[in-house]
């Protein structure tokens, strides 16, 4: 019998980016839990969250503009 083909879903660029962003947020969260978070980390965390919300187009400003 011939080899079974595999139908594999490829990640899109955006999905890869979201995954990376989630990984960074998770790492920062672990850091915060360990009490080692710095102001620089908090800034990076906030920046990332804003970026993610903007990508989804769900910020209040985005809604108001549409």
């Amino acid at each position: 019998m011939s080899k079974k083909p595999v139908l594999r879903i490829e990640k899109t660029e955006i999905e890869t980016q979201i995954e990376q962003q989630k990984a960074v947020l998770k790492a920062l969260d672990e850091k915060a839990k360990g009490g080692e978070i710095t102001l620089k980390d908090v800034y990076a965390q906030n920046k990332l969250i804003i970026e993610m919300l903007q990508e989804k187009g769900i910020t209040r400003a985005e809604k108001a503009r549409s």
Binding site: V6, L7, R8, I9
Partner: protein, 131 residues
Amino acid sequence: MLEQIGDAIYQVEEVESAGLVVFDEKAGKYKPFVHVVRTHHCFARKLVIEGNTSTTINTPLTLTVRLLDWEGNPLDESLEARIAARGNTVTLQLENGVGELDFVSPIAGTFKIEAQADRCDEGLLEVVVNE
């Protein structure tokens, strides 16, 4: 009424003409001409995808693709089918009307899997991939 012509099934309807008439010798009078209208109902063959409808990320899910006639009876034929989901396609060789493939997704979500072949109704299966 359904009628098979070649590899397609047609819905057959009789529609009375609005203007044309024919002489009915038996009844001794004119009657409206009856047009026979055939519309495509389906193809004589169809593909179906069978298997579990849920899996988890990166876990292969085995799916079986079967070739059936339009009434759901298995067909013992070989053909090449295209299996696609979200722009990703593989070719599957069906032997004696059956073929197997694995479906894998690195991301969670609901995916519509389509099995297609020429002059054949397509098969659809929705698979949910959980984290």
